[in-house]
């Protein structure tokens, strides 16, 4: 199957069609599962084809409705454009891979909740929204898809409708709503200044006419708004409540891809390709990243709830990615994007594992677990692999990406940040050991003596993610890296140099 310009919108159209067909055909037995898995398989396969097709620096453009044909009307771009370049195809692979595996996992896990078709409908809407954010080339269209994905995620966090889920979802909804308002304000200021909403046009206009003085207000608004979606530190307060309360596959999606596709990707795209990358943003992102790393790791040490610990760890790892992006050299951006890929894989794996533990033992409290490795071998092995990748132990994938970021920090003469990153790595090993020791090693309690390993689909998804963790380290070899991550890096840096 060839990826051409006209197949770009299918990344959004297929999950959207799946979501509404699931809502229509909800009485037919087995339809929600099949539609969910089929839609995510389609988008995942298409995204792999997209990566293979693009060379470095190449871009595919598609005008919605074919307005203006192949040329521009009145010298400007009219209508909404969809763009597929290196960064887009990289993010598409990350999002759709995790979505596909989570869809398989949910076939078994969601039998405990009553309305499975509602889950798959909302889940496919969220995937459609995230794909839309990634492929769009128009600023307001980005806002619309961001809202679609955010609303679907608010509803999914409250899926269990217990007391805590509702409270966490309300908090998340209010904070997310304020973040979206700040983003919309920034978009309005940019539109009134440049007269266009197309990101490519806006970059040309801003670089020709120089930055108007209102641009600093727009920086602040975008950093606050997208920082809230990405859970950077002053704006992270919704994450430790929302991620544990969601059902386990949704925690994996939220922590693994949503905060990256909506938050980190949007910050990268806008600050590199639209604004060119000014000096103040670089130091600000590095500072915020370093603070996130510290707060996340230190508070994670104190947690006894398994999923809450993993949620704080997400804040810490997104701090690493922000540090890498803030440094701005090609090696640092490659390290940050590689760490984004790795973190999606192993954090999803760890959240799915915690879901498996909860499925079997009906508890999330680390103080009440112990010795589960005797009865649940696959879960404990995959958790061990994911945990070692998170802690940065060679030869697992997490080690290589953290190494790239630290080396890039040293090369750019930011020795303080490099030492801070190493210290936080050591603290990361600390809380990783906490999970492993309390949940899986030790003696098995009597009331857990007859638990069994989790069902087949869940096992398959855990094993696949663990294998990617092990072999993901191969991505650092220059031959493979150039094709996959190198495209993304060059797509970002084209905006910076120009």
């Amino acid at each position: 199957m060839m990826i051409t310009e006209s197949t770009i919108p299918l990344f959004v159209a297929i999950p959207l069609a799946g979501a509404f067909l699931t809502a229509m055909l909800k009485r037919v037995k087995g339809i929600p599962d099949t539609l969910g898995v089929m839609s995510t398989i389609c988008t995942f396969v298409m995204s792999v084809f997209a990566v293979m097709r693009l060379d470095i620096g190449e871009r595919l453009l598609s005008n919605i409705g074919f307005w203006g044909g192949f040329s521009e009307v009145f010298g400007k771009i009219v209508g909404i454009q969809l763009v597929m370049d290196g960064l887009t195809s990289f993010m598409l692979v990350v999002v759709n891979l995790v979505a596909f595996i989570v869809a398989i996992y949910s076939v078994n896990y969601m039998t405990r909740y009553t309305a499975k078709w509602q889950f798959y409908s909302l889940f496919l809407l969220m995937v459609a929204g995230m794909n839309g954010v990634i492929i769009t080339g128009d600023l307001f269209n980005l806002f619309v898809f961001l809202e679609i994905a955010s609303l679907a995620s608010y509803a999914l966090v409250a899926f269990g409708t217990g007391k805590r889920e509702l409270e966490a979802s309300f908090k998340y909804a209010v904070m997310g709503g304020v973040g979206s308002l700040l983003i919309l304000l920034g978009i309005i200021f940019l539109y009134s200044n440049t007269g266009t909403l197309n990101m490519g046009d806006m970059a040309v206009i801003l670089s020709e006419q120089g930055m108007p003085s209102i641009i600093y207000l727009v920086f602040g608004l975008f950093l606050m708004g997208f920082g809230l979606k990405a859970a950077l530190v002053p704006f992270h307060a919704w994450l430790p409540d929302a991620h544990p309360s969601a059902p386990a596959p949704i925690s994996a999606m939220l922590s693994g891809v949503l905060i990256k596709a909506l938050g980190v990707y949007a910050i990268c795209r806008i600050f590199f390709n639209v604004f060119g990358f000014p000096e103040q943003i670089s130091s600000l992102l590095m500072t915020l990243g370093a603070i996130s790393m510290g707060v996340g790791a230190l508070v994670a040490l104190r947690q006894w709830d398994m999923k809450r610990l993993l949620a704080y760890s997400s804040i810490s790892q997104v701090g690493y990615i922000m540090l890498g992006i803030g440094i701005g050299t090609p090696l640092a951006i490659a390290g940050a994007l590689f760490h984004l890929f790795n973190h999606s894989i192993f954090k999803s794996l760890l959240f799915l594992d915690s879901g498996a533990v909860e499925y079997a033992t009906h508890t999330r409290d680390l103080k009440q677990m112990g010795g589960l490795s005797k009865r649940m071998p696959i879960t404990s092995t995959t958790t061990l692999i994911g945990a070692m990748s998170l802690a940065g132990i060679p030869p697992f994938a997490g080690f290589w990406s953290k190494l790239l970021i630290i080396v890039a920090a040293v090369q750019a003469n930011h020795f303080g940040y490099a030492i801070w990153a190493v210290i936080i790595s050591i603290i990361t090993i600390g809380y990783v050991l906490k999970i492993t020791r309390f949940a899986f090693l030790g003696t098995l309690r009597k009331r857990f003596s007859d638990i069994r390993e989790v069902p087949a689909f869940m096992r398959i998804s855990l094993i696949v993610l663990a294998l990617i963790c092990i072999f993901g380290g191969l991505l650092i070899l220059p031959a493979i890296r150039g094709g996959f991550i190198g495209q993304a890096v060059s797509a970002l840096l084209m905006g910076k140099g120009a």
């Binding site: 307001f140 619309v144 809202e147 609303l151 608010y154 509803a155 409250a158 409708t161 217990g162 007391k163 805590r164 509702l166 409270e167 966490a168 979802s169 309300f170 909804a173 209010v174 709503g177 304020v178 308002l181 919309l184 304000l185 309005i188 539109y191 009134s192 909403l197 430790p240 409540d241 309360s245 104190r302 947690q303 709830d305 809450r308």
Partner: protein, 120 residues
């Protein structure tokens, strides 16, 4: 100063909305704060489109038989954006009200200082 009055109104409305979100304890008042702030941002977007002495962006004929030129019209793009934004605001409000009803069913009160199950 007269030309800037509507922008001042937008700022005041937005500040009232943010005050409602931050300082009120009742869930319904927090939701109202979000709604008011949302309206303030939509109003600001419409004001950006205004051109002094412009007409509505519909093709029509003047009295002397000529068509109205596009350069004499108000910018129509923000009108479409505001329509989309209003619908998004409606969806968010509907979702939060449904959450508020269910929260009342579980906790028995609308006061958010009583809802402190998650902590740490």
């Amino acid at each position: 100063m007269d030309a800037h009055m509507p922008y001042l109104l937008c700022t005041i409305l937005f500040c009232i909305g943010i005050y409602g979100i931050l300082a009120k304890r009742n869930i319904i008042k927090i939701i109202l704060g979000i709604v008011i702030a949302e309206y303030a941002v939509n109003l600001f977007l419409i004001l950006v489109a205004y051109k002094a002495g412009g007409r509505a962006p519909i093709f029509d004929t003047l009295e002397n038989g000529q068509l109205i030129q596009p350069s004499a019209m108000v910018d129509p793009l923000p009108h479409a954006l505001v329509l989309t934004s209003i619908v998004i605001g409606l969806a968010t409000t509907a979702f939060m009200i449904a959450l508020a009803i269910r929260l009342y069913g579980k906790y028995g009160t609308f006061d958010i200082t009583r809802m402190r199950e998650l902590r740490g």
